[in-house]
Amino acid sequence: MHEIDKIIESTEEIKSLPSSAVKLMQMTETEKSSGDDLAKVIGMDQGLTAKVIRLVNSPFYGLTTKVASVKHAVALLGFQCIRNIALSTELSKSMNKAFDGYLMNKGELWRHGVAVGAIASRIAKKKDRTLVDTAFTAGMVHDIGRILLSRFLLSSFNQAKSLVKAENIAFNEAEKRIFGMDHAEAGGKLAKKWGFPADLVDAIKCHHEPGKSLIGKKLAAIVHVADIIAINCGVGVGGDGLSYELDESALAVLHINETELDQYILDLQTGMKDIEDFVAHSSTN
């Protein structure tokens, strides 16, 4: 068994997602579910319903109408969007914590995920509108592998940093040398275990090397670029800082130049208040 698989097996709390989150993921994957089905799944959990309603009414979505039911929310914002909102509140249970191995304070990883999701959906809106909602989800969850590796980095962080400095390699490359796998690949394995759709598993696994994506180069490229933007802007960044590499093939896939990158940075700055609001409303602990 690979070292990282042992890690997955040894980490009790991440063996499974909350059952409602798994259902929400599967509903999107099959695309056979209606808005009523979605409202039904969400409605089975009063806490989840309340959080969805609260998020839908938050400034992040800028609705002028007050929404009081999940069905109404689906009618206004669409199936995918409401599924994402419900999913985010469930995922925040696993991600809205401190991850000391990465020197990330409580909430930083979740804040980073939401910011990357927001930028990713912005990029998708310009480059491929069919990917807008998937890009948001993929951005939100791209770093779930950190949940796995954080506890092991507690004793290996300095070793990883030393490797980064001595050999001028990216932090995820140092993770590969120490654990046999970086947080991206670990995240891909975890996503697969959790039953995420294949395109999401691929985007998570390839978010540092989108050129290696076999099934969704464009989605992986979008998440990669959004991640790089959030890191440069210092949103939810840990002790690994900017020790990462830009995969320029992602810019070629998306036809993004320097000016456009600057524009996305400004978009992130403009959207930070809404992102913070989304983080606050979706957080459960």
Binding site: L103, F157, K161, V164, N168, I169, A170, I228, I231, N232, C233, G234, V235, V237, G238, G239, D240, G241, L242, S243, Y244, E245, L246, E248, L251, N257, E258, T259, L261, D262, Q263, I265, L266, Q269, M272
Partner: protein, 150 residues
């Protein structure tokens, strides 16, 4: 001791000796701090980009706009240009960033603008690939830099 947090795209000027201006989570962004020690006036800007992209209006998130504004505000508060010390902090870079070298571009632009304004750089802690937090003491002009896992 009042502490004033500034976010990306913001600046703050103070002539209150008790003030400390703080900028957190500096990665590719750049802090420019200016101080006149004679009458303890200081100002700090949290800059995100060198200049406004085409079609975007000028703002304090850009070095080209924020730095001249800092100088003007300091002078309005009684600082003398020939006594002002300018310092730069932040502007980290990815290990391999290609066209996306925001940190380097921010520093280059800040140096250019400061040069045009006739201001010398009295201190600089820029580059690297780590995150920084900065505290600026208005009384002394001292910058305290917290390097996160440098």
């Amino acid at each position: 001791m009042p502490e004033i947090n500034i976010n990306p795209g913001e600046l703050h000027v103070s002539r209150d000796e008790g003030d400390t201006i703080i900028a957190k989570d500096l990665c590719g962004s750049l802090v420019v701090a200016m101080h006149d020690p004679t009458n303890a006036v200081g100002a700090m800007a949290y800059i995100m980009l060198p200049q406004a992209p085409p079609g975007h209006e000028e703002g304090l998130q850009f070095a080209a706009t924020a730095i001249p504004r800092l100088l003007n505000l300091l002078i309005e508060q009684g600082a003398a240009k020939d006594r002002i010390a300018a310092k730069l902090v932040g502007a980290s870079c990815l290990i391999a960033s290609g066209v996306f070298s925001i940190g380097k571009r921010n520093v280059a632009k800040a140096r250019e603008v400061l040069g045009e304004l006739g201001l010398a750089i009295a201190g600089e802690d820029t580059g690297g690939s780590h995150k920084r937090n900065v505290r600026f003491d208005i009384k002394t002009g001292k910058l305290t830099i917290e390097n996160i896992a440098k």
